[in-house]
């Protein structure tokens, strides 16, 4: 076989492989475009509409079948009214701020709980590690709703925690823990802890133990070596874990609903109520768009991390 046609055959084979790999991606690609990306555009469009009593409960309803001219007339009725309303009503502004605050506090606490656990896992004998990882993942496979609900029985006024504390004589009368922001934070820390532990573990497990020894060999006392090497080198894991907790926690609905109180303000719950109780679809769409805008930077950061981690 002449060498030129040989080379061609090889190029052809290589080329076909590239083509194939792109081709198999077509189906999920289209699926995600239709069911993930386009819905956001619809949310954006409806957030510019006005609430209307009927089905669907907003107007205008765009329909290209009515002709381009009629559609254009309708497009012109879209307005930023919902957004100005969100900005002017302190309830929404506070809900956003309070969500960010609760999520931030919970993220820091999750990190403080998760780091020692991940560190201990990474330093555990090699044979134990698969079991320890399985033990961390297991709760994550258990229903989120049930895990949050488990805390209702523990935290409520006549619940287990108060009973134990009363028995020990630590408190004179039951504390009100359930239906407070504190309970919401406990719930977030508990429910999202595995998400924090796993990336931290991945970062810690990769570290060469000799690095820590090198630092102490060069004169760093143990606490300083821990900070300079162990903590410093797990920064990617810390960032990833924190984003995995923080982003969903900001929009969390189940936890504030079950563990929070009447004065717990979280935007996920606000959105839910606007939608299911007030049936104001355009306003809840606007709430969602603003939430997304707030989260766009952390989400992009997370995607970067994930892409680097996998490739």
């Amino acid at each position: 076989m002449p060498s030129s046609s040989n080379a061609e055959a090889r190029a052809g084979r290589g080329g076909r492989r590239v083509l194939n790999a792109s081709f198999v991606g077509l189906l999920p690609y289209v699926w995600l475009l239709v069911f993930f990306l386009i819905p956001f555009l619809i949310v954006l469009k409806i957030s510019l509409s006005t609430a209307f009593y009927g089905q669907p409960p907003y107007e205008p309803v765009l329909d290209l079948a009515e002709g381009v001219g009629a559609t254009w007339e309708k497009v012109k009725t879209l307005s930023l009214g919902n957004y100005t309303f969100l900005a002017s009503d302190s309830l929404y502004v506070e809900a956003y701020l309070s969500s960010l605050k609760i999520a931030a506090i919970a993220t820091v606490l999750t990190l403080l709980c998760g780091f020692p656990i991940a560190h201990a896992m990474a330093r555990a004998p090699r044979g134990w590690r698969p079991l320890l990882i399985a033990l961390v993942i297991m709760p994550f496979w258990t229903s989120f709703l049930i895990r949050v609900y488990a805390w209702v029985g523990i935290l409520k006024r006549e619940g287990l925690l108060n009973a134990v504390l009363l028995e020990l004589g630590a408190i004179g009368e039951p504390l009100t823990i359930l239906n407070t922001n504190f309970a919401v934070i406990v719930g977030i820390v508990y429910a999202y802890l595995p998400f924090m532990i796993l990336p931290l573990y991945a970062a810690l497990e990769r570290q060469d133990p000799a690095l820590l020894e090198a630092a102490s060999d060069l004169g760093s006392p143990p606490w300083l070596a821990f900070w300079q090497v162990t903590v410093r080198l797990s920064v990617p894991g810390i960032v990833a874990g924190s984003l995995l907790v923080f982003i969903p926690a900001v929009g969390e609905f189940v936890i504030p609903n079950l563990l929070g109180g009447s004065n717990t303000l979280m935007i996920g719950q606000t959105l839910w109520n606007e939608f299911f109780l007030n049936h104001d679809w355009p306003l809840s769409s606007a709430v969602a768009v603003v939430l997304l805008v707030i989260l766009v930077v952390p989400i992009t950061l997370f995607q970067r991390y994930q892409a680097r981690e996998v490739e």
């Binding site: 000799a210 690095l211 020894e213 090198a214 630092a215 102490s216 060999d217 060069l218 004169g219 080198l233």
Partner: protein
């Protein structure tokens, strides 16, 4: 290199040793392992080991993996604590002195370069811990960079360097604090063969220049021979033999040392007679009696072993009758060409194989596979081993 000798840098952590009586310092070597024992959950890593290392030596701990050499070094660095016994440095016990306060520095097998720091910052790491001012640190780091010829790479991160460059950064980092003792854990293991050869000479040159005591851990006998002034051959947590490379090679004390270092013929047998001049051994595998001198402390009837290096075994083609002590005849069974010389294996009538090395110079005449040959050696070149 002026900064290397600057008084600010020398022996800062244990600098007060100058205040000690001079007699004691002279009496005691720089490093003394005194009946050191280390077990890991019942497994003995180092068993009742005593060893002295002198100031300014290039000392090698040589042995197969699992012989306890790395554990010994890690105890000296402070990463492991002896189960019993004591390690003294310049006459002072190191017990209770944590790793970060010891005047030893280590070059790790994996190099353990901090991946988030540049070459410059890696080298400066230890100096910063000493609280030196910025100018002193800068001068010292620049000196170290030029010592290992990496000035141009100062701003690079470790992952942007080649294997050889990383190795030099690790060396510079561990030398930067001018330690009393530099510990090198398999420093050349990750390098390819050619680079290893070049780096060996660089290491000895640097050691000579700085006069720092180097202790190297290695499983590579050639490396230990080339680098070290003295070698301790370790086996199963204990020391088999301590000596200069020549002593260890020429006069091994046990079968383990003899067979670990280089090629050797070990001939088992029973002592026929032993006197002040020689030890004669009846070797059933050879079907004859062989002789080694000088003699050991062996007595007739004891089991023992005669060791002879292949290059000390002379070989010539059979022409006529040959006789005398240590003379054997056989057939050339195989030959391994090794460049400057060839390693032959000769099969005796008993079936036993004897290795002999012959240099590939022109004057030897050719020897082919299947040739009948006569082997013999000078009794003075053979060693009698009891262990």
């Amino acid at each position: 290199m002026s900064a290397l000798a600057s008084p600010a840098m020398t022996g800062a952590p244990l600098g007060d040793s100058a205040a000690e009586p001079i007699a004691k310092r002279a009496a005691e070597p720089l490093i003394r392992f005194d009946h050191v024992r280390k077990t890991f959950g019942g497994v003995v890593a180092v068993a009742d080991l005593s060893l002295d290392i002198e100031e300014g030596e290039f000392f090698a701990l040589l042995g197969p993996s699992g012989c306890g050499k790395t554990t010994l070094m890690r105890m000296l660095a402070g990463f492991e604590t002896p189960t019993s016994g004591d390690i003294r440095l310049a006459g002072k016990s190191l017990a209770g002195v944590p790793a970060h306060k010891r005047p030893t520095n280590m070059m790790f097998q994996s190099y353990a370069l901090f991946p988030h720091l540049s070459v410059w910052d890696n080298i400066a790491f230890g100096l910063r811990r000493e609280g030196l001012n910025a100018a002193a640190i800068r001068a010292r780091v620049d000196d170290m960079l030029s010592l290992v010829q990496l000035t141009a790479q100062a701003r690079r991160k470790p992952h942007q360097l080649s294997g050889g460059q990383r190795q030099r950064v690790a060396l510079a980092r561990s030398l930067a604090k001018e330690p009393r003792v530099l510990l090198l854990d398999e420093p050349l293991a990750a390098l390819d063969k050619k680079l290893r050869g070049e780096t060996q000479f660089e290491l000895t040159a640097i050691q000579r220049r700085l006069g720092i005591t180097f202790v190297i851990v290695t499983h590579d006998q050639d490396e230990a021979m080339v680098l070290a002034d003295r070698i301790a051959v370790m086996r199963e947590g204990g020391i088999e033999q301590v000596g200069t490379p020549a002593e260890i090679y020429e006069a091994p004390v046990s079968r383990a040392v003899a067979s670990f270092i280089g090629e050797i013929n070990l001939i088992e047998g029973t002592v026929a007679h032993a006197d002040a001049r020689e030890t004669a051994l009846d070797a059933p595998a050879l079907g004859t009696r062989v002789v080694a001198s000088p003699a050991g402390a062996a007595r007739a009837g004891e089991a023992g072993c005669l060791a002879i290096r292949p290059e000390k075994v002379a070989m010539r083609r059979v022409n006529g009758h040959s006789d005398g002590p240590n003379t054997l005849t056989g057939t050339v069974s195989d030959a391994a060409f090794m460049g400057e010389d060839t390693l032959y294996r000769v099969r005796l009538e008993t079936g036993h194989l004897i290795k002999t090395r012959r240099s590939n110079t022109r004057d030897g005449g050719t020897i082919r596979l299947g040739d009948r040959v006569v082997l013999n050696w000078d009794p003075a070149d053979a060693v009698f081993l009891e262990r």
